[in-house]
């Protein structure tokens, strides 16, 4: 592990040195919202932010993405593979929760006999430089889902915001070889490391939400047909915001886009959501998840029951986007508490 100091007024230098070899993505302010964008001018980088509205998953798993291109000349059809997957990327300023989201996506896309090489290649060529959250949002709950505002494991380089400067720490060999190139970085003082420790503790203590997720998969499994799903889905309007903005949701639709002369086009994938009725509807009209109740249940079951079953870890990173941006305030934290109540109520009955 290497520890260094990166002054905030040296971000420009940092950018210029790395932009030669990497596409650099970082938070910028776009029409009042924080978004991760490819940086063309280091002055656009925003360092004072909670988190982006849309998670940085869109850098490696964009809303629409080309799977391949094709040309059609009568019966002569040619398919061209993508040739841009080997570009090197740095995602600067990613939060620990979203970095953990990438880890879960990597798990998912790399699972099974046939893997999603498009995502995996890009992920392999991407370095994550994360910044710890000194001030978590009121909707954040990463500490309830095995996360932490200063969790470093899913990153290559970890930064702690010390005001005028960052304390920089390399997490693995990839991070280390990058930092070794930046010979101008100075060494930290003892006080810097101490300050970082205190900030971590303070951040952890500032969480307002603490959810009990220790038994959630065990509670969910036998309660697939519990009436609670009706209650949970009652106010849902099925807009899908929760899943589009989730750092671990990765469902997609596939369509062909052909130009007006019908001789050139591309097969693309587009973000999709299990909250949409058409997502599961068969051509025959039959729909295995035809009601909002079933669709809401699928989202919760997927993150807190199916995901743990398949990967032995929760499918939620506690970023709180679905809590903050749900238009009808169908709060995931309330939903989890309600599910925990199922068990408590049962125990009460047993006692009575």
């Amino acid at each position: 592990m290497i520890q260094k100091i990166l002054m905030k007024n040296e971000i420009g230098k940092f950018y210029i040195e790395l932009a030669e070899d990497y596409n650099i993505f970082a938070p910028v302010n776009e029409k009042g919202s924080i978004v991760f964008k490819k940086i063309l001018n280091s002055e656009d980088i925003v360092l004072d932010y909670f988190n982006s509205k849309v998670p940085p998953k869109e850098i490696l798993f964009p809303k629409t993405e080309v799977l391949f291109n094709y040309t059609i000349d009568g019966k002569d059809i040619k398919i061209e593979d993508r040739d841009d997957l080997n570009e090197k990327n740095i995602i600067f300023g990613i939060r620990p929760c979203d970095a953990h989201g990438f880890m879960l996506l990597e798990n998912f896309f790399g699972f099974g006999a046939v893997k999603d090489e498009i995502f995996l290649k890009k992920r392999k060529n991407t370095l994550l430089i994360g910044i710890g959250c000194n001030v978590p949002k009121s909707t954040c709950f990463c500490t309830s889902v095995e996360g932490h505002p200063f969790k470093k494991d899913d990153l290559d380089i970890f930064l702690v915001d010390l005001g005028e400067k960052f304390l920089l720490e390399t997490i693995n060999n990839n991070g280390e070889s990058l930092v070794k190139k930046l010979t101008w970085l100075t060494d930290p003082k003892k006080g810097d490391i101490q300050q970082a420790k205190e900030l971590s503790k303070k951040a952890e203590e500032s969480f307002e939400t603490k959810l009990d997720l220790s038994k959630i998969d065990k509670i969910l499994d036998p309660n697939f047909n519990h009436p609670i799903w009706e209650e949970i889905s009652e106010i849902c309007i099925g807009c899908g915001t929760c899943s589009y903005l989730c750092p671990t949701c990765s469902c997609f639709d596939v369509i062909d886009e052909t130009d007006q002369y019908n001789n050139r086009g591309r097969r693309i994938r587009i973000w999709d959501t299990c909250q949409s009725c058409l997502y599961t509807q068969h051509t025959s009209g039959h729909n295995p998840r035809g009601s909002c109740i079933e669709r809401c249940r699928n989202r919760i079951m997927h993150k807190f029951s199916y995901y743990p079953e398949n990967y032995n870890t929760l499918g939620c990173v506690g970023c709180g986007r679905c809590v903050q941006l749900c238009p009808v305030n169908n709060d995931l934290r309330t939903i989890i508490n309600k599910i925990n109540e199922i068990e408590n109520k049962k125990e009460e009955k047993v006692v009575a």
């Binding site: 799977l67 391949f68 094709y70 059609i72 019966k75 002569d76 059809i77 398919i79 593979d81 993508r82 998912f108 896309f109 699972f111 099974g112 006999a113 046939v114 893997k115 999603d116 090489e117 498009i118 697939f224 990765s250 469902c251 997609f252 639709d253 596939v254 369509i255 062909d256 052909t258 019908n262 086009g265 097969r267 994938r269 999709d272 299990c274 997502y279 599961t280 509807q281 068969h282 051509t283 025959s284 039959h286 295995p288 998840r289 079933e294 699928n298 079951m301 997927h302 029951s305 199916y306 995901y307 079953e309 398949n310």
Partner: protein, 279 residues
Amino acid sequence: MPNPYIPVLTTVKSIASENKVNDIKTLELEFKNEKDYKSFDYIPGQFAEISLIGKGECPIGIASSPTEEGSIKFTIKKMGEVTSGFHNCEIGDVVGVRGPMGNGWPIEDMKGKNIVVVGGGFAFSTLRSLIIYILDEKHRKDYKDITVIYGNRDSGEVLYRDVLEEWKKRNDIKVVLTIDREEEGWNEKVGFVAPVVKEVAPLSENAIAVVCGPPIMIKTTIAVLEELNFKDEQILNSLEMRMKCGIGKCGRCNIGSKYVCTDGPVFSLAELKKMPNEY
């Protein structure tokens, strides 16, 4: 590893209309490259994502058997944009194929057993594959008695008449056909599939029943098979689901923690009973 979304290219070798109303056709596809054909190593019950480049892609069960060498077949009902596109295909048109996908029928576990095949409507395609595979001279000795019960709404909907006729001529397979209502010139059974299964009463001992068809037929047939002492482990189903990728990534074909495209489409009734009723 290559990009898993890129299909290999095939050309349409033959087109056969399968029913009187002409909304079901079987397309026979020939691989453009011998190498692609060799690596398309499939068993009965698997499916493929087939596409018209520029129109789109859809998952279709493989109707041919690997023993029918040189080409693969798909039976397609005209339903939406892509399947209508397939219906408009001419010989020589290019079709993209990704696959084979899914687990397929457990042909190894079925060895040494009596096989009962119950099909309804146009869900018969992967059953055609299975039966042709078992009847092949290389494999017939591995399996015991074969009973096929195949029901349709009317005589015009019966698929694969040529192979059905061949099977009827053989003495190592019992073929029972039925249609819902009586028709002039129909000399086979009349009535729904489930009561016909009851009448034929295949023995459950050392048997595997393979059931494919519309949901109501599956439900009623399973009830009859249970009456005939078939255990949940002895009853196999092949499920259909909306799918996009076929490799467990696009998300939509999940039933609980399982994906129909990679964990299925074939599940035993015992497995299905452990899964949520969301299919």
